[in-house]
Amino acid sequence: MNLRAVFLSIAVLFLAMPGAAQTPLIADLSEHQIQITTGFVGTDVLLFGTVEPESNVVVVVRGPEEETTVWRKGRYAGVWVNDRRVIFERVPSFYAVRSSAPLDEIASEVTRMRHGMGAHFLRLRSLDDRISEADLKVFRAALIRNKQRQGLFATGASDISFLGGQLFRTRLHFPANVPTGFYDVEVFMLQDGRVTHAQTTPLIVRKAGLGADVFFFAYNYSALYGIIAVLLAVAAGALAAFVFRKG
């Protein structure tokens, strides 16, 4: 009885709002699973949805978090050697931000900080408390720079396009070296620099096919994998010797 009243009042509210006879933000991906098969060279996933008119859209994609080590090289006897490291905890293995216009034009600094819109607003913390704030800043910038070079941090693209003011779409690119795991795709609707609605869509990146089996086997039955690798090589060598014996 009570539930029905609530439902009714929401429905009435929606009908009363001009031009918003549905949820203000709806978004979805063309696929929710990326399969890394033997022929995988990277892929694009289409993200699309609708928002209220006069609003902007920001998309933040995060891969599974992992501990990441950043090394700094120093020169010893003319050779460049890794000599200092900082381990960052909980670094997203993949991170991408897309927006419908340059971020600083559509989102206030507080908003960007709160929702991690932009690599510089990621909370990259080190377990090491002896490191100075200045050093940490340098290593943090280096981490972001290296991730960007690997194509695993993709930020700054404002290429979400609108069709007729409400319908939006963008292509999310995932390179060949995309890490596997559970991804979160957050879609934000912004008005006047603030987030008014948000929606999170899951995305799974996983290895599939023969490659996945080999990987799983190598990590879970390492000793057996080693033995099989050796036996395969012995068989291949013997076969080669047999085939080319007469020649």
Binding site: W71, R149, V230, A233
Partner: protein
């Protein structure tokens, strides 16, 4: 056509890999060298991490050594007793080498050590090969057949644990072959090479083995050492990419056959000089990468990844 390598976790063109296997196999057939010392740097150049390159190459060498040793076995050119003594050292060496590999990897210094080892060994081998080949080129017409004394006595003949090696016509301490085997085992684990370029000269000049049994015996030992390394790397570090190894050895086997056939017609000092220059070229490239100021002094490391 690209293939995603499951352990190396990169996408590479299959024909590039087959071509690399074929080219290195051709050279190894032509010159009778293992080829690991060329393949591992090549894999690193195309973006395979040094850890995976080294371990996978050990796996590939198992195959090429098996096909090589069968031919020598048929001709009776394998000194099994010497092979087993070398192998004892080799097993210890590969255990130590894989342990060192794991430690260095954890400390973030593995890539550096692999590169440094390559620079040193490729520099020495390439340099010596170049000198030897160019010297041979100059006195080709002269008959420079220097007879080696059948019996030379050094300090090493005073070492204990003497064993008689009938096929090699030697009565020497087992410590020396064990030590040589050990060094080769370490090199196989850290560099992904068969170590033939160290072992063959060591067997001829240090142990005084007859040249006829040297290659077969070293191949015999290499099979087991690289098999041990493959097993240990796979079980401890998960760095053996069997798919990559199979593609490389497919190209390698075919290349080696063509190379062997070409070698019977083309053998000459000019070709050896060419190989020496290639080895020195690879050495130079690795050295250059170590010495030149990197574009970015910071890099994301492998430590703590898994």
């Amino acid at each position: 056509m690209n293939i995603y390598l499951p352990i190396a976790e990169i996408s590479v063109n299959v024909f590039l890999l087959l071509g690399m296997g074929g080219a290195v196999g051709f050279l190894s057939g032509l010159f009778g060298v293992g080829g690991g010392f060329l393949m591992t740097p090549l894999l690193i150049f195309i973006g395979v991490t040094p850890a995976v390159a080294v371990a996978t190459e050990a796996n590939q060498i198992v195959a090429s050594s098996v096909s090589g040793v069968l031919a020598h076995w048929r001709r009776g050119n394998v000194d099994f007793r010497m092979g087993f003594v070398l192998l004892a050292g080799g097993t210890l060496g590969s255990l130590f080498g894989v342990w060192l590999f794991t430690v260095l990897r954890g400390a973030g210094q593995l890539d550096l050590v692999i590169s440094l080892c390559y620079v040193v060994f490729l520099g020495i081998v390439g340099g010596l090969m170049f000198l030897e080949a160019s010297r041979a080129l100059f006195r080709r017409r002269r008959q420079g057949d220097v007879k080696r004394k059948l019996h030379q006595h050094h300090w090493m003949h005073g070492l204990p644990f003497k064993i008689r090696f009938r096929k090699s016509k030697l009565y020497i301490s087992a410590l020396l072959p064990v030590f040589i085997g050990f060094i080769v085992g370490v090199l196989a684990a850290i560099m992904g090479v068969s170590g033939g370029f160290i072992m063959v000269p060591a067997m001829i000049y240090l142990l005084g083995m007859p040249t006829s049994v040297v290659v077969g015996t070293s191949l015999f030992q290499i099979i087991f050492v690289t098999a041990t390394v493959t097993f240990l790397q796979a079980s401890q570090n998960q760095t053996v990419d069997a798919v990559l190894a199979l593609i490389l050895l497919t190209g390698g086997v075919i290349g080696a056959q063509i190379g062997t056939r070409a070698g019977t017609r083309l053998r000459g000092e000019q070709l050896r000089i060419l190989l020496a220059l290639m080895v020195l070229g690879v050495c130079g490239k690795l050295l250059f990468d170590l010495v030149v100021t990197p574009e970015d002094l910071f890099a994301i490391g492998s430590a703590g990844a898994h």
